[in-house]
Amino acid sequence: MAESFDVIVIGGGPGGYVCAIRCAQLGMKTAVVERENLGGICLNWGCIPTKALLRSSEIWHLMHRLEEFGMSAKDLSFDIAKIVERSRKVAGQLSSGVKGLMKKHKITVIDGEAKLSGKGTISVAKNGATIEYAGKNIVLATGARARTFPNLQPDGNLVWTYRDAMVPKEFPKSLLVIGSGAIGIEFASFYRTLGSDVTVVEVLDRVLPVEDEEISAFAAKQFTKQGMKLRIGTNVEKLEKGANSVTATLKTKDGKTEQLTVDRVIIAVGIVGNVENLGLEAAGIKIDRSHVVVNQWCETGVAGVYAIGDLVGAPWLAHKAMHEGVIVAERIAGVKGVHPLDTSKVPGCTYCWPQVASVGMTEAKAKETGRKIKVGKFPFIGNGKAIALGEVDGFVKTVFDAETGELLGAHMIGAEVTELIQGYTIGRTLEATEAEFAATIFPHPTLSEMMHEAVLAADGKVLHI
């Protein structure tokens, strides 16, 4: 008879392994099926290794500003192989950390590729053999992968996805990044800072198109200042591969074409859910544009089968997947007071230079809702700590409902803002109004003071500009 579990999680990424831990904490017999590495894309090929890479490029950037800080050095150089090696080491350390967590919580890790095989059963294939397992509850957390188009096909050599871009064998002198979302811009930033001639193509009318318009505009200005070339409202018609280069044909909205020859191309035009070979159709689970359709409780409509994370759609963020994993675990266990995910409380962070972080509605979105809003802004140049750090480019922006004082959205660009956004996120979760933010004492001197000032600014009470 097949081994049976209270919960089987398919996929050991951040959504899956967190869900499994929470299930185990709640006393359920839990298994995780993973076909590759525990930790999923996030730990192995996404969030974490890119942060390691970007740390290297940040240090490189600072090394070129040594004189500003009263220092000097000669013969600066970097070794891309060693930068990549460090990034892989960081990923490896964390992946084995997840393994340890599974062991600690007595979660069975099943190696192989899983598929729904019947009511409450899955089959796991590994090296040609198949083993059946029974699960009272099954959580699909198989994640997503890079989206490609017929004219934009990665080859792992000249045309890269994020995965190839993370482990370059040699440093490209010139690079074309297709797509200016978080993934595209982070790689563009990394390669540009290390000296590559980077061009970013974005089909929409601005970079970082999900961010507030003012953030996009400020980012575009900074990127351009850094020497990044931005092609906005532009499509890539075709890619022609040479021996060690690619020639791209770009076409603007108004029909102008441009040819561009680069060493490498990164395709970052969104992602598609990993819905294949899971037995979803046979189980009667609905799929819409490569994502599993679920309700607010991540239920697929098939009793006992849930889906979470990138597999079910935007925002494609690890912390969103983790949160859904916890919701599902607690729903299965019958924990009281569980709430569905509110995407307006999911912060987003982009680790380009300067960093971008936001939560909630953009100013334009808030206006669209028809409510009266008030907006506050505060620039890095007005903050003592920012000046001391030598990081004066950036600003913090708040959007409040003028009537209720609800913080509808917060948008930040500049150094370390990805570490700051949680303050506003906590505020939103606690339903603080501008009055509570204003009454909060922020430590001096910190960058966080700008968060206070941006709230005060919304009421015309800003202190330092």
Binding site: T404, A432, T433
Partner: protein
């Protein structure tokens, strides 16, 4: 049969108190209203009265005991002829039959729950069998306690939206961590969602289910079904209720349901007032300092003078006392886009006509641009609503709490009246006063209206 006397909640936030002094001893006969004990809270010492007659069978909590929890039995009251042995032991307290005030309170709570309205200044519902509990002298503008006196947790945003939409937060169920009330709960309550029920039956009747049963208390209040049920979709346009519309709906439903209104109508001869007005307006300088007095300005002045002469009318109701106001603060109903608001001319009795006129104009302008401060429209004891400019002859208005009267003013028009046995033409205006009977009895209201009429018919007498 015997009843338990329970530790009263003397304020909405009181959880426990000190039994400072017993005024009775075991075996004493007590009458309703007699002071039984003094209870000390962190804020004040209050006297605690008996509601029922009987004899003190047993004192359960000795004098000087501190930290006595609200609702804990403190003594046993026996009916005449009963012996102490018949008194129930303290652990049966929850089975004690509710006394009359408690029943009334529970019924009121059910009524409020059923119709989804809340009183303007919520008095804490006394627990069953608790003697009449005095609410705090000044209830907090937004409740932070629940009915039983415990602290109530709500997010800052929830509190603010509750205040703006007129939802009594004390009646809302919290869905956040540990029952914390969050924005979504207030929004659901504002939409008429489920409110905290005083009794299980009330929750049932609060749901707008077709054929809802009258609740157990026999109040028989059935909520009105959603109007959408009666119309074809597409045959109407939905205009969402903004916060002002919701506030008007809740306040006026509360006012009309919870305040016992009655109405007095009187005709005023306007000839003298119209003459005086014409003469005074003719004296207005050109340019700076110019004025144009309206009929309403005279009515405000007359009402202010009449209120001072009739202090019983210049008053507001609370559960423990009637508040007699020192000055005549008079609200003026102003129609604004999407609703109405009633800014207040404070100390109308002291002000001259020009001052009143300028003030009303300024208030009305700022009301229309929504620039009024809360202190400019909160309070007052009487409002004037004038629909004469629309040719309305007579109407009745809904009292604007915490005020206790509202004057509905119709058009001043030439009418045929009988004077000295002859039919003559006179400029006549009909005024209808809505009164809160809890504060103003019929004769009291009538005397006020007569004083008002005298001032209007002989404006010069306001100078006396």
């Amino acid at each position: 049969m015997s009843t338990q006397i329970l530790m009263p909640a003397l304020s909405p936030t009181m959880e426990e108190g000190k039994l400072a002094k017993w005024h009775v001893k075991e075996g004493d006969a007590v009458k309703s209203g007699q002071i039984l004990a003094e209870i000390e809270t962190d804020k004040a010492t209050m006297e605690f009265e008996a509601i029922d007659e009987g004899r003190i069978g047993k004192i359960l909590v000795p004098e000087g005991a501190e930290g006595v929890k609200v609702n804990a039995p403190i003594a046993i009251l026996l009916e005449e002829g009963e012996t102490a042995g018949a008194a129930p032991s303290s652990n049966t307290s929850t089975n004690a039959p509710p006394t009359k005030p408690a029943e009334i309170n529970a019924a009121m709570q059910q009524l409020r729950d059923a119709i989804g309205v809340t009183p303007e200044a919520p008095a804490p519902a006394p627990p069953p069998a608790a003697p009449k509990a005095a609410p705090a002298a000044a209830p907090a503008p937004h409740a932070t306690t629940n009915g039983s006196g415990g602290r109530l947790f709500a997010s800052p945003l929830a509190k603010r939206i509750a205040q703006q939409s007129g939802v009594d937060i004390a009646n809302v169920n919290g869905s956040g961590p540990r029952g914390r009330i969050v924005k979504a709960d207030i929004e659901a309550a504002a939409r008429g969602g489920p409110m905290k029920a005083a009794a299980p039956a009330a929750a049932k009747s609060a749901a707008p289910a077709p054929g809802a049963q009258p609740n157990a208390s026999g109040m028989g209040v059935t909520p009105l079904p959603d109007a959408r049920l009666f119309y074809k979709q597409g045959e109407y346009e939905e205009v969402p209720n903004d916060s002002m519309r919701k506030a008007i709906a809740r306040r006026l439903t509360s006012a009309k349901t919870l305040i016992p209104h009655y109405y007095l109508t009187i005709d005023c001869d306007m000839n003298a007032l119209m003459d005086a007005r014409a003469k005074l307006n003719a004296r207005s300088p050109k340019g700076p300092g110019s004025y144009k007095l309206s009929v309403n300005d005279f009515l405000l002045k007359a009402a202010g003078m009449a209120l001072v002469r009739n202090p019983d009318v210049n008053a507001s109701w609370t559960e423990t006392a009637i508040l007699r106001h020192a000055h005549a603060d008079i609200g003026v109903a102003v129609a604004i886009e999407g609703g109405l608001i009633t800014p207040i001319v404070f100390r109308a009795e002291e002000k001259g006509l020009i001052e009143i006129s300028n003030e009303v104009r300024s208030l009305a302008e700022r009301a229309k641009t929504k620039k009024l401060k809360p202190q400019e429209y909160e309070g007052g004891s009487l409002s004037i609503s004038n629909l004469g400019m629309f040719g309305i002859k007579n109407f009745t208005a809904v009292i604007n709490p915490p005020q206790s009267a509202i004057m509905a003013v119709g058009v001043g028009e030439d009418r045929a009246v009988v004077r000295d046995g002859k039919i003559v033409v006179a400029n006549v205006m009909t005024v209808t006063l809505s009164c809160d009977h809890r504060v103003i009895d019929g004769a009291t209201g009538a005397r006020f209206l007569q004083t008002f009429k005298d001032f209007v018919e002989e404006p010069a007498s306001m100078l006396l």
